[in-house]
């Protein structure tokens, strides 16, 4: 396979800034960004995210005081933990949408596809497999997951085939899909809710105790992540030396390791600070024959103990912490995997190259048609992953599940800095975009603000984000 190098500017490393000799009179800030090669736009997005969080925490704190960082209910471990779970489904899909939009394609059918996959596999699980194999048979969840992923990939590839080989514009193909797939989903379940899902399958939704990693494994995972970050930085430096590329100053390398580890450990600490809900703890103690110790009632405590015959909240008693939830881990895993695919594989580079200049890419020998099918199939696969998370989380599947998700997925991608003109976009940007959007929705819901105003704000943020991004890019030129 021919390996072609395209305009380096669209690829992630090495950034052109690091290749130019240092200017003598640059400001400290510019120097910092040049040395660390941190994307200023990413920093801007993270700052926006933190600002949104701070506003909601202060605002909810004004309504009623809570133990959040700024006195509200938003910046509490519990809410942040829930936020990650709520974001995971959209975030997973938005990583695929980045590649599609980078390639100047779009998929409007992801929401309907999600309902079709969820309903189709739920019918398989609940009406076919469960009666045939017996409720709770381990093959049910395995087949359920496999069916979701396979069906997703298949539908995605079908979309891609129509776009690439039948030469129908992606907008039309997937608009048709948006309408048609939700129709099929309706017919499959006759408009009814299919429930409940297999008990093991439910683990993927994060709603049951079995899908919580616990503090011990969360810390182990965090430690492993920190080591990986350090290794990646050191290895990157070694590679640069090998190919005679310009190097970051040592302090910048150290700073990257420090800030990366800090983020990982901080997130883990927050996740590990969320105690099991009282009801879950109580049920767990009952089913595992744990003795609930006697104690003194305290409404603010997170542990449980006995006050006479009654189970009450208390400060020290029986308690466990949740740690990372499975859906959040899946989303993080998908983010890492997709970042690797986008920046480190020839497949990813072809996608960016085709998005930057489709004609040039084709002339250079990239099979853009087959590439299109593959990118759509990948999108479908990710919708399959999301459908597992969504239906497991709801412990049910209905044709309403996933409807209008396409709008949120595209919005997350665009807020995350992916250009609809093609060629530009990052996976982590889309993840942050998804987090920003879900933060706004959850925060407003926490404040008990009406759904209509949530839509209004999310729409406004979408347009504002694109405007700011364009201003930034123009200045850069």
């Amino acid at each position: 396979m021919p390996r072609i190098k395209f305009s380096e500017a669209t690829l992630s490393t090495p950034s052109p800034a690091s290749q130019t000799p240092a200017l003598e009179h640059e400001s400290v800030v510019t120097k910092f960004f040049r040395a660390t090669e941190i994307d200023a736009r990413m920093l801007g997005m993270i700052a926006a995210l933190l600002l949104v969080w701070a506003i909601f925490d202060v605002w909810s704190g004004i309504i009623s005081h809570d133990d959040g960082l700024l006195g509200g209910a938003f910046l509490t471990p519990r809410n942040l933990w829930t936020l990650l779970v709520q974001t995971s489904s959209i975030a997973v899909m938005s990583t695929g949408m980045v590649l599609l939009i980078v390639m100047r394609q779009i998929d409007l059918s992801v929401g309907s596809m999600l309902s079709l996959i969820a309903v189709g596999t739920a019918v398989l699980q609940v009406y076919q497999l469960a009666p045939a194999l017996g409720v709770g048979h381990p093959a049910i969840w395995v087949l359920g997951v496999a069916a979701c992923l396979a069906l997703g990939t298949l539908i995605g590839a079908f979309n891609g085939f129509l776009v690439a080989y039948a030469k129908i514009p992606a907008f039309i193909v997937t608009l048709g899909g948006l309408i048609a797939y939700s129709g099929i989903a309706f017919l499959l379940a006759k408009g009814e809710t299919v429930a409940p899902m297999d008990q093991t399958f439910e683990v993927f939704g994060g709603g049951i105790q079995a899908s919580w990693l616990g503090p011990f494994w969360s810390w182990i995972l965090a430690a492993a992540a920190c080591c990986t970050i350090a290794y990646a930085v050191v290895n990157g430096r070694r590679q640069r030396i090998r190919f005679n590329f310009p190097l970051r100053p040592v302090w910048a390398e150290a700073f990257l390791i420090a800030i990366g580890s800090f983020a990982v450990l901080g997130t883990t600490w927050v996740m590990n600070s969320y105690p099991w809900p009282q009801g879950v703890m109580e049920d767990y103690a009952k089913t595992h024959n744990l003795v609930i110790p006697a104690g003194v009632e305290n409404r603010d405590g997170s542990a449980i103990c006995m006050a006479g015959e009654q189970v009450v909240h208390c400060l020290n008693g029986l308690m466990h912490y949740t740690g990372f939830s499975l859906p959040a881990l899946i989303a993080i895993g998908v983010c890492l995997g997709m970042t690797f695919i986008a920046t480190r594989t020839s497949f990813g580079r072809y996608v960016y190259a085709t998005g930057g200049n489709p004609e040039a890419a084709e002339l250079a020998g990239i099979n853009t048609k087959w590439l299109t099918v593959k990118v759509f199939a990948l999108m479908g696969f990710l919708v399959g992953v999301s459908s597992i998370i969504s239906s497991a989380r709801l412990n049910a599947a209905t044709n309403a599940l996933g409807q209008t998700n396409e709008l949120y997925v595209i919005a997350a991608t665009v807020i995350g800095g992916t250009s609809l003109a093609g060629g530009v976009g990052t996976i982590y940007g889309a993840m942050i975009g998804a987090l920003v959007m879900q933060s706004i929705v959850s925060g407003m819901s926490l404040l008990n603000l009406p759904a209509a105003s949530q839509n209004m704000v999310v729409g406004g943020v979408l347009v504002l984000a694109v405007y700011l991004d364009q201003q930034y890019r123009r200045r850069l030129k």
């Binding site: 409720v135 408009g191 809710t193 049910a396 959850s442 209509a452 839509n455």
Partner: protein, 345 residues
């Protein structure tokens, strides 16, 4: 068998031939359906047809396939076959009115089936929709007479969401005023979507620190989201939850104890009542003499009509058996995962 078919066909032919004559025994009941796209209408048709034919009368019908124009043509066609009563499931309750006038001009009686059109000469048969909200609230109130209530309402654009809430407030208003019940969360749910309801419930639990004692959800789909959110906090089965539609999954949740009530509109009951009313009208019974008829003027234009308002059935642990007996749900579906309820043993 063949003979039977022949006999039925002959009978049908005879009925058609003589339907215009006063001495004819078999009456003809016609139905103009708006669509068969949704599963339920086929069930309605089967019920009506069975009741009409069991009474020795004839059933004829037309399907408008979701078009107001086709429905107008359908009704002209039905009038031409000279039935005694025409039942109409209107696709558009305003556009249908000229056709209804044609029916009465031809001396035929009309019934508005499930969908209201406001013509004082017609009989309107439907479920008491405001009552659904009342029943939900009553069942939840029974389970939790006081405490913190959360209200998960339907889509803000659907007037039904507000009607249901009104019904709930009729029941709960006094207790709220007295301070026994506190409304801690009240949200509309975009598109009646279960996953939105789940997120709203999660945020409600976060903001109240789990101090929610009961949840009034306006339908079963949203109840599935509410129960999932409660389950994640170990509260499923401890906090009463309402719903409506008689979803199979919801009836299963009632059996499992995670949902308190699903208000069910038994469409078979609706079909049976309408068919019986149609037969009575065909035989010349005056509208206001039919059992269950009362005056109703709650429509858009406030036209007073003779109306039969059927009471929806609350499905609770106590009467799951009835839903199974009615053939709405199989025992296996209703009882998946539990044997604790009487109907499941």
């Amino acid at each position: 068998m063949k003979n039977l078919v022949k006999a039925v066909m002959l009978g049908a032919l005879a009925a058609t031939a003589m339907s215009g004559l006063a001495e004819a025994k078999g009456k003809t009941i016609a139905v103009s359906w708006k669509t068969f796209q949704e599963e339920r209408w086929k069930g309605d048709e089967a019920t009506i047809k069975a009741v009409v034919e069991a009474a020795g009368d004839k059933y004829i019908s037309a399907d408008a396939q979701g078009s107001a124009q086709k429905q107008a043509a359908d009704i002209e066609g039905l009038i031409a076959q000279k039935p005694d009563v025409i039942m109409v499931v209107a696709f558009d309750s305003d556009a249908i009115l000229p056709s209804i006038k044609k029916i009465s001009d031809a001396g035929i009686k009309s019934i508005a089936y499930d969908v209201q059109f406001e013509d004082p000469k017609a009989l309107y048969i439907t479920f008491d929709n405001v009552g659904v909200g009342r029943i939900m609230a009553k069942e939840i109130l029974k389970a939790k007479p006081e405490g913190n209530y959360a209200f998960i309402k339907g889509d803000k654009g659907d007037p039904n969401a507000t009607f249901l809430f009104q019904g709930q407030m009729e029941v709960l208003g006094a207790a709220i005023k007295a301070g026994k019940i506190k409304n801690v969360c009240e949200t509309f749910t975009d598109g009646w979507k279960p996953d939105n309801a789940q997120k709203n419930m999660e945020q409600c639990l976060t903001s109240t620190k789990n101090k929610v004692d009961a949840v009034v959800s306006e339908n079963d789909g949203m109840a599935s989201g509410v129960v999932a959110a409660l389950k994640a906090q170990g509260l499923a089965g401890k906090v009463p939850v309402s719903g409506q539609d008689g979803d199979l999954a919801a009836i299963n949740r009632v059996a499992l104890g995670t949902q308190t009530v699903s208000v069910w509109k038994d469409t078979a009951q609706l079909g049976k009542t309408a068919a019986e009313a149609a037969i009575a009208m065909a035989e010349g019974t005056a509208m206001d003499k039919i059992a269950g008829v009362a005056k109703f003027n709650g429509g858009k234009k406030k036209v007073e009509m003779n109306t039969i308002l059927l009471a929806p059935t609350p499905i609770t642990v106590a009467n799951i058996g009835d839903a199974i007996k009615a053939g709405h749900i199989t025992k296996d579906q209703a009882c998946a995962g539990t044997k604790d309820v009487a109907a499941c043993k």
